[in-house]
Structures are given as structure tokens and as C-alpha cells.
């Protein structure tokens, strides 16, 4: 369930003018970038571990039906009920039905991007069920009526002062001060009764372990366990690509996930949930339901976007993306922002709705460099651009400009003539070595400067260089 993409350029434009947003993004992504670099430097085997992580994901993707059936068998044997949903609507229907049949009034939820992807928050509201987000960042954006702007730090676009205003209105009693520690205490107090009073707890899964039937969550706050233990029913929503063969394989991926996401070595709470409460258990839910969601994933299995199924949702690609760091997550308009979102949103919403996203990329390749499972993100973004061209989704101006360029590129004399005129004309707009504004290119130069060209094309300079060298060699020969 994703918002329409039509207004990407307008949204990006608005966000670029938002100075507070820029500060908020820089604080979080800058911090994440630095901490990841330190964690990777302290782990000399990181590159080998990364290749291994990729191989594990590729192995699972190649045998996905085998592992899904194994997981289903073992989870069922542990007492969980496994449901299958081909798309977001089926997933919403299954979860709503479980909640309504249980006569649930209050549902607590531990952050899961898949829940956002399938539009779970709206579905619960439509069913008249109170939903309480328990992850601190999700709590903040629920109060603000917003969507996540980052897959690891969903409220990273909000400053401390903005959070304080939200908490003062919603918390009883309101927090006494607006420093982060006081506000975290306030949320802890406010949410405690909700944890213990919920009828259903919904979590996602970072891994589905095939040989035990367990689902694995990782959190730093401890909200997942407080969400999944007290209620009568625990529902897990997970994409079918989350499988791993065994617990040991999950650990191999965890080493990559945590370092890439937060720069830590291990999340505070890494929990394997296997079935409902056992006879004699001191606590735990009576029922456990696991909803396995396809929603476009089997389509990716069959096309060039298959490597994207390796994604373990660490967020490193967006933390290192020059575009994301300028416009933030909301401008992307889908559930998933940044480079991974620009690849996934066209799968989920259709390319016609989201063709701007794969274009909003400089192809600098940093996302692929930091990806812990070696997803070739720029290649996949280029594949969407190609498909957009083939499916004639590119606007007429783009088609015309590219047609003109292609015509020139096939006629070298024309291309050279054009570039000779071009570089000389561009010099007229340069001030002190840089071009700050250009007619017809205001959208480009508003946020970037172009170095003033040298006045001669590469080919002209190359020829001159060759001629000079030939002359020199000739003179030396005459000596």
C-alpha cells in the first residue's frame, strides 16, 4: 500500500528547501556512516563475511520453495499457524480476520517495514482496532500521523523540539523536559500499560529459520519482546525472502546486518520466537500466527531484479546516498526510500507510478559499495531506466532529447561539431571557474554548480597533444 508517485519532483523540491530536515538527516546519516566505517574497520574479515552473506542469500533464493515448506513444517510442528498471502490485500485480510475473530480491541506493534508495505496501519484502523506502535520512532510518527522516512530510524526527520511538542500533547502526564532522556522515560511510562493490556501483538521478522520454524526479531529497545509476550495472540508478518537455512546462517547475516545498520556488533535483543506458549511455560501467547507475504517477490525471482531479494533491510545504502541525504525519505513517496526503495517501489507500485525514482540517482555507486550482501543497486536502477524507455514511459521531452543525442552520436563529425559549440557557449555562463545558473537548466543548477569547461573539447585537446608530441619526437630525431 504505497502513496502514488506522481509528485516526486514536487516533493523533492519542497524537501530541498527544508533547512531543518537537512540538519536532521545529516545528524543521523552522518553518524550512521561514521559508526559503520569504524565497525567495518574493526572486522578485517568483513569483505569475506559479505561474500558469504551474499552466498547464503543466493542459496536460499535458489531453493526458496524448499525452505518455505521446511519452515512451514517446523513452525507448524512448534504449534504456530502459517498463513500465505500472495499480495498486500490478502495479507491485510488475514491479519484483520485474526484480530476480529479474537475480538481484539488493542493491538501493539513492533516496527516492521513489511507491515508498512502491506498497509497494515490503515487496515487495523479501518477494522476499528486501536493500534499502538511500540518502537520509539514509530510511536513518534504515529503521533505525528506520518510514515517512516528511514527503514532503521523512521522518525529521523523530526528534531527533539518537534518530538517534545508531540509528547506533551499525547502523554499523561506530559514529559517534564524536552531532552531525549526525559522524553524516552515518558514514552516508557506511557506505553507500559499498552504492552500489558494488548489483545494482539504484531511483529515482523528479520529472519525465518527453516530448520527450527522460529522467527527472529532484532531490537535495541526491548519493545519486540514486550509486544509479543503478554498478549493472547502473536502475529508475525514476513516477506518470503527472509528465510535462512539454520540459526547459524542467521548469525552469519546478523554480523553484517548490525554493523551495516547501526555500526554495532550485535543488537541489544536478538530473539528467536518459536510457536506459542508451551505447556507449563511461565508466560507467552496462546496463539502464534505467521503470515508469509509474496507481494511481488516471486515476480522479482523471475526477472533481472532477483538480486534485490538478498536485501536484509540495513539502510546502509540510504545512509551513503547523496540523493537521500539531500531530500530525505518522504520525498520518495513509497514505503522504502533511498536506493533500495528506488528499486523496490516500482516492483510494488508499478513503474508507471514511480519512474522518477530510478532516475533520481547519480550512479556514484556508493550504495553498492556498502551493501552487506553485494546488491548491484546502480545496475538495477539502470535496468528500471531501460525498462521505462522500452515501455515508452519516458516523457516526450526526454525521448526527443535522447533521440537527438542518439542521432548525433551516430555521426561523429556532427557530435564533435556540437560539442565544440557547446563547450564554448558554456564558458559564457561561467563565473570564477563555476557555472551557477544556465537557461533551461534552472532545475539542475539551483542546487549544483557546474565547473566551467576549458573551452576546448577533449578531442581537440587530445589532437593538439598528439601533434605537439609528434613535433617533439621529430625534433629529437633531427638532433
Amino acid at each position: 500500500m504505497n502513496a502514488p508517485q506522481q509528485g516526486f519532483k514536487e516533493r523533492a523540491d519542497a524537501e530541498l528547501k527544508n533547512a531543518v530536515l537537512k540538519i536532521a538527516i545529516d545528524r543521523t546519516t552522518g553518524n550512521a556512516e561514521r559508526k559503520r566505517a569504524v565497525a567495518v574497520a574493526a572486522f578485517p574479515e568483513f569483505q569475506a563475511a559479505r561474500a558469504r552473506g551474499r552466498a547464503i542469500k543466493d542459496h536460499v533464493i535458489a531453493h526458496l520453495d524448499h525452505y518455505l515448506e521446511m519452515f512451514e513444517r517446523n513452525a507448524t510442528a512448534a504449534g504456530a499457524q502459517v498463513h500465505w498471502a500472495a499480495d498486500d490485500a490478502e495479507a491485510r485480510a488475514i491479519i484483520t480476520r485474526i484480530c476480529l475473530e479474537a475480538d481484539a480491541k488493542l493491538v501493539t506493534r513492533a516496527k516492521s517495514m513489511l507491515g508498512e508495505e502491506i498497509g497494515l496501519p490503515h487496515a487495523l484502523a479501518d477494522a476499528g482496532i486501536e493500534r499502538v506502535e511500540t518502537d520509539l520512532a514509530e510511536h513518534i510518527i504515529q503521533l505525528a500521523g506520518e510514515r517512516p522516512s528511514h527503514i532503521v530510524w523512521p522518525a529521523m526527520h523530526r528534531t527533539r523540539e518537534q518530538v517534545a511538542i508531540l509528547f506533551k500533547e499525547a502523554h499523561h502526564p506530559p514529559p517534564a523536559a524536552d531532552d531525549p532522556a526525559t522524553m524516552v522515560q515518558s514514552a516508557r511510562r506511557e506505553l507500559r500499560a499498552k504492552f500489558l493490556g494488548a489483545d494482539v501483538g504484531i511483529s515482523g521478522a528479520n529472519f525465518l529459520v527453516a530448520d527450527t520454524g522460529a522467527t527472529c526479531t532484532v531490537t535495541n529497545e526491548g519493545n519486540a519482546e514486550l509486544t509479543t509476550t503478554p498478549p493472547r495472540i502473536h502475529i508475525v508478518t514476513a516477506g518470503i525472502e527472509k528465510l535462512v537455512p539454520s540459526t547459524a546462517h542467521a548469525f552469519a547475516l546478523l554480523r553484517l546486518l548490525v554493523r551495516s545498520a547501526t555500526g554495532g556488533e550485535m543488537t541489544q535483543y536478538t530473539t528467536f520466537h518459536c510457536g506459542p506458549k508451551r505447556p507449563g511455560d511461565a508466560d507467552g501467547p496462546e496463539e502464534m500466527h505467521i503470515v508469509l507475504v509474496d507481494n511481488g517477490r516471486t515476480r522479482m525471482l523471475a526477472d533481472e531484479f532477483r538480486p534485490m531479494l538478498r536485501c536484509i533491510r540495513c539502510g546502509a545504502c540510504m545512509n551513503h546516498c547523496v540523493v537521500y541525504r539531500q531530500i530525505g525519505g518522504h520525498a520518495y513517496g513509497g514505503t522504502y526510500p533511498g536506493p533500495m526503495g528506488a528499486v523496490l517501489t516500482p516492483v510494488l507500485d508499478g513503474l508507471a507510478q514511480s519512474r522518477d525514482l530510478p532516475h533520481a540517482c547519480t550512479m556514484n555507486g556508493r550504495c553498492a559499495e556498502v551493501c552487506p550482501v553485494e546488491i548491484p543497486l546502480p545496475t538495477l536502477l539502470r535496468a528500471w531506466r531501460t525498462r521505462s524507455w522500452r515501455e515508452r514511459l519516458e516523457p516526450r521531452s526526454v525521448r526527443a532529447a535522447l533521440g537527438l543525442w542518439a542521432m548525433a552520436a551516430r555521426r561523429p563529425w556532427l557530435y564533435r561539431l556540437g560539442s565544440r559549440i557547446g563547450v564554448r557557449a558554456l564558458r559564457l555562463f561561467g563565473r570564477r571557474g563555476w557555472i551557477g545558473s544556465l537557461p533551461l537548466a534552472g532545475g539542475w543548477t539551483a542546487y549544483r554548480d557546474l565547473p566551467r569547461p576549458s573551452g576546448r573539447t577533449f578531442m581537440e585537446q587530445y589532437r593538439a597533444g598528439q601533434a605537439g608530441r609528434a613535433g617533439q619526437t621529430g625534433r629529437e630525431a633531427r638532433k
Binding site: 500465505w84 513518534i140 524516552v184 507500559r192 519482546e225 548469525f251 535483543y269 528467536f272 508466560d283 507467552g284
Partner: protein
């Protein structure tokens, strides 16, 4: 056709060759765990206890080293006094803890929503990450580790494992509990402007009583 059948059919349609036999897939999966030392941090076997303390301390876990279990009540009292807490404790209903002499502390089984302090047992410690392992069970409520502000955990030094895989190996063939949890430091969050704050929803303090040596 059910959603299950449609999903499995789509997966099979995307694969050019038939699925290899289960044994071949299992062998390939096992090979992906070969030579673990090449894909994990340096070996730590030589100094397990020191490495565990170093890793866990860096994350904010505090330690007390005790000669044996009999020393636990006194160590707990010392901890509560140091933090200015009342001598009350939610106690994991495990025989090994119930058997101790609790005359100076008011202990109870139930964990209150605003519980100040609780004491539980860890099954293993993992030196690589400074993690404590707990399992749910009849004498091991999960909320005991999450509701209190101060979580005190007993760990036998002989239960230390070098790496994460060693825990997976220790569980090989054993029954998977409802919850198996690796606790790595006190609860924390960086959700407001990236500032690290302890005690988000779970315990703000994690104290380990390390037994033996």
C-alpha cells in the same frame, strides 16, 4: 488455487532446472558455514572471560565476580544498596535461586509492571559479542528480563562460549524453546536525534554476577 499453491508454483516456474534432492541442498547449506574463522572476528578462545567482560562492559553492562552461588544474595544486596534501591527483588522461579538464603531481601515470583529489580539465570554467555542467552520455560518467564529497570543476571563462567555459532551448535538437536533471547547490554534507543538513551522499554541497567573462574 490457494495463495500457498500460487506462490510455490511461481517460485518453481522461475527456476529453469528441477529442485535438487534435499540432501544436496543440505550439503550446500552446510558448506556455507565452512571455515567460520574466515568470516567472523578474531578467535577469542584463549581469554573467554576477559573477552566477555570487555565486550559487555563496552555496552554498559556492569559486573561482579563471585566465587560461588552462595555469594549471590549478598552481591544482590550490595548492588541494590549501591543504587539506593529498596531490598526487594523479583526472583526467577528457578530451584537454583530459590535454594539460596534470601533473609535480607524481600523476594517474590511475580514481576510487577514497574518492577525495580529482578534476578535471573543466563544459560550461556557469548564472548564474541558480550551476549547473555536466556530461554523461556516453566521456571523462566520472559517478562522478568524486560519489565524491570535493573536486570541482574547470574552467569557461570564455565558456560561461556567463544562465538555465536557455538551457541547454535550447543542447540543442535535440542528442542527449540518458545523464546531464545540473546541479551547484549541494557535496552537503549537512538531514535531522537541519534542521541543514545538507556532504558528505552527494557532494563536501563544490566548487571552480571559472574560465578567461578
Amino acid at each position: 488455487m490457494s495463495a500457498r499453491d500460487r506462490i510455490l508454483a511461481a517460485i518453481r516456474a522461475a527456476r529453469p532446472a528441477p529442485l535438487p534432492p534435499a540432501e544436496a541442498i543440505a550439503a550446500e547449506a552446510a558448506a556455507l558455514l565452512d571455515a567460520p574463522e574466515s568470516v567472523r572476528p578474531w578467535p577469542v578462545e584463549a581469554v573467554l572471560a576477559a573477552e566477555f567482560v570487555r565486550k559487555a562492559s563496552a555496552l554498559g553492562t556492569s559486573f561482579d565476580h563471585l566465587p560461588d552461588r552462595a555469594a549471590i544474595p549478598l552481591a544482590v544486596k550490595r548492588y541494590l544498596d549501591t543504587h539506593g534501591l529498596p531490598p526487594a527483588l523479583a526472583l526467577q522461579p528457578a530451584p537454583a535461586l530459590a535454594a539460596l538464603d534470601w533473609t535480607d531481601i524481600d523476594t517474590h515470583d511475580a514481576v510487577a509492571p514497574d518492577q525495580t529489580a529482578a534476578l535471573g539465570l543466563a544459560l550461556w554467555g557469548i564472548a564474541e559479542t558480550g551476549s547473555l542467552v536466556i530461554h523461556s520455560g516453566a521456571d523462566a518467564p520472559i517478562l522478568l528480563s524486560f519489565l524491570p529497570l535493573h536486570h541482574i543476571v547470574v552467569l557461570e563462567e564455565r558456560s561461556l562460549l567463544p562465538h555465536l555459532e557455538d551457541y547454535a551448535a550447543a542447540m543442535q538437536g535440542a528442542a527449540q524453546p518458545r523464546n531464545a533471547i540473546l541479551i547484549t547490554g541494557p535496552s537503549g534507543t537512538t531514535d531522537i536525534e541519534g542521541s543514545y538513551v538507556r532504558g528505552a522499554h527494557g532494563p536501563g541497567f544490566l548487571h552480571v554476577l559472574m560465578i567461578g573462574g
